[in-house]
Symmetry: C2
Subunit: 481 residues, 2 copies
């Protein structure tokens, strides 16, 4: 098939600082280097590979607790290395930034537990160090164990988490966009003035959950607010994405459900005064490519053989339903009722099941390694045909490439798929200079557009009082020369 107006499709590598991210069991493959994830060379060599392959970015997932809902505990998650052990993605990015010039980095960070003032500075530092290549995947935390790692008894309720997240965004926007004017730093050596204090403001945020005085400690970074990624298909999740996200990571059961989510979020974005095209949409992609169909299928079979159902069950049970506690023939609708009677509410959780199916159906759904609907197994031509079809029919802008082997999945993609994409005008030939935001939205747009809610704090508007640092000078009894 052909598309009338070919435009580049974005590809990020989907990563996580752990052994088993979402391809459970695959770490044992002799060509897989996942068990070297603690080593800095694992990350720097991967970053170089992705930059050689002209990827948009590496997208780092994260979790701040253990999946201990399956069979009553963390045993399976540990044995199968289901996202534990894991490391902090924020401190891995600078190592990759030190050996690259263009590759982007998006890291997952939760708005639920850590103080926004510290995160805002950490993010600004990352945006400085990467010269504007930093993105933030905004999440709220749902794992019960994560809550218990941060002083709470149990997870924060879903809609409350989104209310927390709204306030969190306000705080960090005020710090990133409102606290320092663009021309605050003058660095005037002759005049002995580094910063003009009249152009730096306290934010004086006072909200139900956070009180933050400011000023922000970092001077404005290339992008100020990092590129905002977000995933979340619930009602509150979509509304949040339509308000804040510059790129949404979409899930769904089939092509139509992807299209519907994307259409809905963009419609809501327009209602919020934003442009539909200001919300890019990404899907996870399973791409298993070979020089021949048989070679590709052989790889897929090998991956399926190594996949571990126990790993997927532990993963699914982390914040959700412990399917091991119910008989296989039970209807999921009845399981949900039983869970509700036990005081567990799953209404707003990410669904991996159909309510009209059975426990066995849900188990099957969970343990298919090719669970995301976008699956392309075949020759480069077949793979790119399918990519084109999905992009045309869903409104997707790009994909997060799921890894089966590290670095094999990315190497295969770069060797076999990229040339076919380039032949069709769907992939860059070389990087252009600029920030990650400019890569997504075009040259000259290093900063958020004026229609984004973060922009309402610019120039000190909508801050509590808008005190500048020059406002607080008081008469003085003694000044030393």
């Amino acid at each position: 098939m052909t598309r009338p107006d070919p435009r580049p499709i974005s590809f990020n590598l989907f990563e996580m600082a752990c052994v088993g991210h979402i391809s459970h069991g695959l770490w044992v493959h002799p060509d897989n280097t996942r068990d070297r994830f603690n080593d800095i060379d694992f990350w720097t060599s991967q970053a170089r590979l992705l930059e050689d392959g002209l990827f948009d970015a590496v997208f780092l997932a994260d979790v701040i607790g253990t999946y201990d809902g399956y069979r009553g505990g963390a045993e399976t998650a540990l044995r199968e290395a289901v996202q534990i052990p894991n490391n902090d993605p924020l401190v891995i990015i600078p190592a990759m930034a030190a050996v690259t010039k263009h590759l982007g980095f998006a890291a997952t960070f939760s708005t639920t537990y850590e103080p926004p003032f510290a995160f805002a500075r950490r993010a600004s530092t990352l945006d400085h160090l990467t010269r504007g290549r930093f993105g933030w995947n905004v999440v709220t935390s749902y794992l019960p164990n994560a809550a218990r790692n941060f002083g709470l008894e149990d997870e924060v309720e879903h809609d409350t988490r989104y209310a927390y997240a709204e306030e969190y965004m306000d705080v960090v926007y005020k710090l990133w966009e409102g606290s320092w004017d663009d021309d605050a730093v003058v660095a005037d050596r002759a005049g002995h003035v580094y910063t003009d204090p009249a152009k730096v403001r306290y934010i004086d945020h006072v909200g139900p959950r956070h009180r933050v005085a400011g000023p922000h400690l970092s001077q404005p970074s290339p992008q100020r607010t990092p590129v905002l990624f977000q995933a979340g298909s619930s009602g509150a999740g979509r509304a949040f994405g339509a308000r804040h996200a510059e790129a949404i990571f979409v899930g769904g059961h089939d092509l139509a459900s992807y299209r519907d989510v994307i259409t809905d979020v963009r419609r809501q974005a327009v209602e919020n005064g934003r442009a539909a095209e200001d919300v890019k949409a990404y899907a996870m992609a399973v791409i298993i490519v070979g020089r021949t169909e048989i070679e590709a299928q052989r790889k897929a079979d090998e991956f399926a053989l190594l996949s571990r159902a126990e790993g997927y069950l532990a993963h699914a049970g982390g914040g959700g339903i412990d399917l091991a506690a119910y008989p296989p023939h039970m209807r999921m609708a009845d399981v949900l009722e039983a869970e509700a009677r036990a005081g567990r509410d799953h209404r707003n959780r990410t669904r991996f099941y159909r309510a009209d199916g059975t426990v066995a159906d849900a188990l099957h759904e969970i343990t298919r390694f090719d669970r995301p609907p976008f699956v392309a197994i075949g020759t480069p031509t077949q793979v790119v045909d399918r990519i084109e079809e999905w992009v045309a029919r869903t409104g997707l802008d790009g994909f997060n490439l799921r890894q089966f082997l590290t670095p094999g999945t990315a190497e295969d993609f770069i060797e076999l798929v990229v040339p076919e994409l380039q032949r069709r005008g769907l992939y860059r030939i070389s990087y252009e200079d600029g920030t990650l935001r400019e890569r997504l939205f075009g040259q000259g747009r290093a900063r958020l557009p004026g229609s984004h809610p973060a922009a309402r704090f610019r120039g000190g508007a909508n801050l509590g009082g808008s005190r500048t640092a020059a406002d607080d000078l008081v008469p003085t009894g003694a000044v030393a020369g």
Copy 2:
């Protein structure tokens, strides 16, 4: 002079991710590159320089608020770039780690505001990425503005901060030392077992300020607990150092006061069951070296000329007394009384003044750029003579080299002082392999000794219940194959 038993003296570069750390005004010098501190190349080139110069480590100070006590606000701190703008040191280290193999890194992080669970994982990640070259400078936060950035009205009272810090250390020790056994990770590909769940524990910490379930998310890093640095000369500060610190950063008015602090902390350490030699002692060093005395003095004069009294006053006023509010002839004892009447208690603050002096004396003390008693200005021979004298007479193990010019101060030291130190057997000729802790305490000691309080949690001892991840397996209704 000669010393009977020459042993290497440690040198760290004293750094901070900002324009003006402690040499206020110097950033305007034409050879100073401090205003490039946002750039990753500033840090990677500096790391390479220090590794070429065989430094022990780069020691990164930090502050999480603004010095807004002088003349009622932050104006002066901003204009003079007194530690604002600044960036997060934790995310700068991985960039330096990516381009070095031996240089150590110590970063300042406060126990007062951020959740210990998140910090513990961040620190473990840094220890993994640096292959055991990470140190933590443990501080409590005293800046009032920092408190207001983290939800509080004013700073946490001094002794309360130290009580918080004690609990904080317990939490992170439990995570670093107690949660995972050394042989928990088996990475058995044939058996499909990454981690043995029986060797991973919840920590179930319940304390007055923190509740943390665990397990720790990172697997054991080369050093587990990073090398623990600490500064603090108050009573509570010394007691904390004697209990926890592997290296104390000492201040004082003269050689004798350094010696007394070091002797006192080591005596207290022994009372705690630790070895005196398990507490290394560092002082800040002003070293201005030239090929001739005249050349060195010319540099010192140039630095003095560029030093900015206003910068030092803003710095001193950050958490302390606004000296600008009092007449120069007033006695400091009377100032303290006036402050106490106004509800401001400075008894436990770091002192930059003598109570028997006047405000003018305190101003003089503050604005001397050579305030730390260890000052060596002269030829390499003169500088090293003075270093040897201080080490012999105080019990110091090393120095944090204060920068006047970046990279000039380190370059001068490497070019002129290092060869003289090496000639006398006081400085390494090449790096040995190993972790930062082994560099300080000898090969084979990558981990804390058994006498350190962190060690009491090893093997799951002294944890709340010592649940392992294998203890929570429950009977199950359905397990998918």
